[in-house]
Symmetry: none
Subunit: 245 residues, 2 copies
Amino acid sequence: MAIPRLLVVDDDPDMRQMMVQFLRQSGTIALPAANESEVLKHLADGRVDLILLDVMLGDESGLNICAKLRHEQDVPIIMVSALSADHQRMSGYEVGADDYIAKPFNPELLLARIKAVLSRARRSSSLVHRRTTKTFRFDGWTYDAKRDEILSPDGVQVALSKRETALLKAFLANPHIPLTREEIAAALDVTGDNAHNADAEGRAIDVLVGRLRGKIERNPKDPHILRTERGVGYVFSVDVTAEDT
Amino acid sequence: MAIPRLLVVDDDPDMRQMMVQFLRQSGTIALPAANESEVLKHLADGRVDLILLDVMLGDESGLNICAKLRHEQDVPIIMVSALSADHQRMSGYEVGADDYIAKPFNPELLLARIKAVLSRARRSSSLVHRRTTKTFRFDGWTYDAKRDEILSPDGVQVALSKRETALLKAFLANPHIPLTREEIAAALDVTGDNAHNADAEGRAIDVLVGRLRGKIERNPKDPHILRTERGVGYVFSVDVTAEDT
DNA sequence: AGGGGCAGGTAACAACGTGTAACGAACCGC
DNA sequence: GCGGTTCGTTACACGTTGTTACCTGCCCCT
């Protein structure tokens, strides 16, 4: 397969340079990035197979970026940190990192991890370049993630709002797994600037779910796709198939 | 008790073969399965006591399968993974796995875990026998465990609450066997960890039984499906047939 | 047979979770 | 700006579930 393209995100120029150099010697295409905007630029520019993300970026926590990227796009992420403490590890995984490695790391180990994550990603989607260009099918519905279009079983196109789309994506990524309102809120918080709503627990999720139901459920009053798990949250309870296009 | 029947689910033929061989040498009946459809076939075929499920299946994440199986059926599951990272363990538990073990594992340890999970399952199955069947019929009624729908003899769908459904399941799994209130409470305590309710014995069960009777008995005042065993508890006293679908 | 105690049935209630209509603010394309 | 859309908030309705209280009927004891 193609040479993997890696994005090295670290705010320390020395560390960044060192990693990029080592990775390039190891036969990969390594691109440096110092902050979030550079990451986004690279992602927009072209395909990126994997992101190596430092946990401690000066201005903004790498964890936040990770969570954000995870929900916007489907790029595999390996978190890198100077802290090997378990809670850090947990945090990394919680925001959706595919793996975690502590600095200073054994170069061989890093390569091994990268290979593992890449092969995993590749296995789950034969598509190497953009895992974001996918078509999901569930219960007769078709969702084209690339065009952001959703077709009903009758072939009629249905208009979903941005937020509704994000919600659907979150569920498509986790079929049959109950998601709590907190998890859903985290998944929806892709805009990132909303730091305030950390605790602001309103009924927004419920209403949003209701609206999505109104659009994709045959009988919204008796949902069979987006079921309520009372006292827990919501479950996307039909099978999902994902294809590359 | 009978020789345990295990289902080994791993997409790597070598690993699968190895595990099956080892488990067979260890006195169990081990069946190999490479993907979800093979799992379902085995479950439909006959009784399976426990599933050893690899986290990383090529086509579909083992976690999803686990969540799905847990959602629809009640087979104990041990997740197996090449990744010993804690987050994997967490994910496994979150989707309802009974235990988690990392590859490469100590064979003795695996056996111990299997034994532990099985004995746990069996203990609780003295109360609620774990089945893999999906459709139950009794006295004209049909209960589709997969869709959580219950149809009256007239073909009318009846809405059962979550708790009522759980209660019905407990009885369907134990027809003609009187269940004490403690046993019923234990069966309903999906969370299982509530040690507090040992003494907190209210009338909740009675009320719940009454409500279920109100929905499934022709004449709730003179129940002939869900009979009271005075001084003992309640008995589901009609025959139940269970089918796979 | 009569009476007391007790197990169980159930109506009423309260606490809580969820669905949803309505409202208004923010945003967007023109 | 202006109309339309999106989206969070709010208020209210409703379903679920445990608790309580009261009633009934059964069983046992004398």
